[in-house]
């Protein structure tokens, strides 16, 4: 092996360049794509990548958020602020509307709405006729995602069939679909949690405050830190403690942010991005292991949800 070295991109530049390429392929191949934006850290990176891919033009797609109605208000406020700053169109569709329509039925009032996002997402895809949804999922997040394609094909029921995916070679992506079917495109498939934080640091991206260490009331429930008395946008409190649980004030931050009912924070004093990068480098717990209460139900739970149309 020669030790000659031709100039190559740094790892972050390479990942950025690949993601830009994928976004431009979606824009070039699909007639009506949408970019899913939740206000979470991965989708915040996605917006910067979209800016790098398409500025000085406007994005060739709107942004969309599937709101469970149980999102952290800091994140919802950030979502709206960021979309407005960018001057891009933001569509919000809510699980609560699906509940009103009767297409989402909760087993009980306290059931997590997270998995029901799939129904609302499919309804929105149909409403707008989207042929591609661009999302910020990564292969390192979870086992079932390690084999996920960058352009993942979903049938007209939004189902992901792991045995019926298109081979993906070189950087030749096949985003063709028939009416009713759609493509889920994942430009940051090859990024890890560390890459995301390094990118946030390099690009100086602003994040919702709950990603940084802050003090909040929590209870310890089967080994996980569960935030309690969390205020919603309408001022109501959710995640009330159960009888007999002891509320403590703990310094925590969120590593992933989703529906309040299923995202738990980690104990941390990292109050800026640099400290978070350092903490990510030395952590011993995976991103979802510590913090996603929904993924732990069974080893194959993500795969099950993906088959049902989940991102």
């Amino acid at each position: 092996m020669s030790t000659l070295t031709k100039q190559t991109l740094s790892h972050l530049d390479w990942l950025e360049s690949e993601a830009i390429h994928i976004m431009r392929e979606v824009a070039g191949q699909c007639s009506n794509p949408v970019l899913l934006f939740s206000g979470g850290k991965d989708s915040i990176c996605m917006l910067r990548l979209a800016e790098k891919a398409f500025r000085p033009g406007k994005f060739p797609f709107p942004l969309m958020h599937i709101d469970t109605g149980h999102n952290y208000k800091e994140v919802v406020a950030f979502r709206d602020k960021r979309a407005a700053e960018l001057g891009e169109r933001l569509i919000v569709r809510s699980v609560e509307d699906s509940m009103k329509r009767g297409t989402v039925v909760l087993k009980n009032e306290n059931e997590s709405r997270n998995k029901h996002q799939s129904v609302t997402l499919l309804e929105a895809i149909e409403e707008f006729g989207f042929d591609a949804c661009i999302g910020g999922a990564r292969r390192d997040e979870e086992k079932a995602r390690a084999k996920e394609r960058i352009m993942s094909f979903r049938d007209e029921f939004g189902q992901w069939d792991p045995k019926n995916q298109r081979p993906e070679l070189w950087n030749l992506y096949n985003a063709r679909s028939h009416k009713g079917e759609n493509i889920r495109a994942f430009p940051i498939s090859n990024w890890t949690e560390m890459d995301v934080w390094q990118y946030i640091e390099r690009e100086k991206l602003e994040l919702p405050s709950i990603y940084f260490a802050h003090t909040r009331p929590v209870v310890m429930r089967s080994g996980a830190i569960v935030p309690v008395n969390v205020p919603l946008m309408n001022g109501e409190l959710t995640n009330l403690p159960k009888a007999g649980e002891e509320i403590i004030d703990l310094q925590v931050r969120f590593r992933t942010v989703g529906d309040i009912s299923c995202t738990a924070p980690v104990e941390s004093d990292a109050d800026n991005v640099e400290k978070i990068v350092l903490e990510t480098a030395t952590t011993t717990i995976t991103e979802r292991g510590a913090t996603r209460l929904d993924d732990q139900t069974s080893e194959a739970s993500m795969e099950q949800r993906k088959k049902e149309g989940y991102f």
Binding site: M1, S2, T3, L4, T5, K6, Q7, T8, L9, S10, H11, W14, L15, S17, E18, I20, H21, R24, E25, A27, G28, K52, A53, F54, R55, P56, G57, K58, P60, K143, A144, A146, K147, P162, R166, P167, E168, L169, W170, L172, N174, R176, S177, S189, N190, T192, M194, Q198, E201, R202, E274, L278, A281, T283, T284, I285, T286, G289, A300, E303
Partner: protein
Amino acid sequence: MSAQHVEDRGLLRFLTCGSVDDGKSTLIGRLLFDTKAILADTLTAIERTSSKRGMTAVDLSLLTDGLQAEREQGITIDVAYRYFSTGTRKYIIADAPGHEQYTRNMVTAASTANLAIILIDARKGVLTQTRRHSYLTKLVGIPHVVVAVNKMDLVDYDQATYDRIVAEYKAFADQIGLTDVRFIPLSALNGDMIVDRGERLGWYDGPTMIDILEAAPAAHTEQAESFRFPVQYVCRPQASDNPELHDYRGFMGRVESGEIKVGDSVTVLPNGLTTKVKDIQLYGESLPKAIHEQSVTLLLEDEIDISRGDMIVSSEEVPAQTKQAEAIVCWLSETPLSPARTYWLRHTTREVKAKVASITHRLDINTLEKEATTTLAMNDIARLTLKLAQPIFADNYTDSRATGAFILIDESTNNTVGAGMITSLNA
């Protein structure tokens, strides 16, 4: 240890290939484990599974099992991607299964890799599958090969056994024209020569596996390549509030080969017009140049009509424009190739209709013998000639991976059914 403060040696994509039981999953598990890419909760989960399956030690191969179906069957059925970082370099592993019927998975995994680790079981030596993997590695143009003679613990770390396998493989590598081949003895199970040297392979004084990976060139080729820029998207923000942008025409794409500087002469295909690069932009910033694999926006001196599917190239090295090409094709679909049908051929950002004019021969990748055929089944590899409805702007695959590769798409199902590498443009 923020990465900005240490040297960034970029990103290396590599492929691991081996037969069913030669310890590929264990090697990957070991790389992830020893570079601390495996975190405690994942380890706890595999410890649980290992003991459920009646094993006493932790089975690192469980780290790479992905989907429920294959966990139940205990085999790997598709390409999985894994990630780790050493702090100086980020790695993407494409893990392709070794079964006979999965040539297509290996070709898929190989298409994005710059280095291949070929595993050999020290007890078994060079097998038919080793030859097949090596041949596919050569075919898909992976520039660097590391032959890992694994399970040295099961042959008492015997140097003579290792030397014999190395000699046998070298003879074979010469025969198929693999040039950059390195050898290393390993015990993935015990972790010898992966990240740590261990104490049992004292007679081997070469680098460890991780040292080899750290030193491997990240670029696909060290040769100077011709500039190729397939246009993905055209940015014309006329309706913008900013009057300065009314005449803005940015051609967006990725430098697929070579590099480009402001002021360079370029030719636009298919119209053949020549102009100069006025500016290279990325997110409002002007760059003096753009290198291989960099996504940028090009602005040109002259107003030329350019759209997606066109290609901007170096005026000094213009690729061939052709409506006929000879290629090696790997068939990926369960539905056989039909010479009567028309397929979509996607080459760079261009999509044209294609038909098979003739199949020269099918290649038996175990014996390298050529056989006559009129169709191709899944996992077949063949040399064939394609007729195209519109021209493509292409190079031979051995000269330029990005502009020598294409995929074939079934018109009715939209499935990706074939992967092709152009061997000759004057067919």
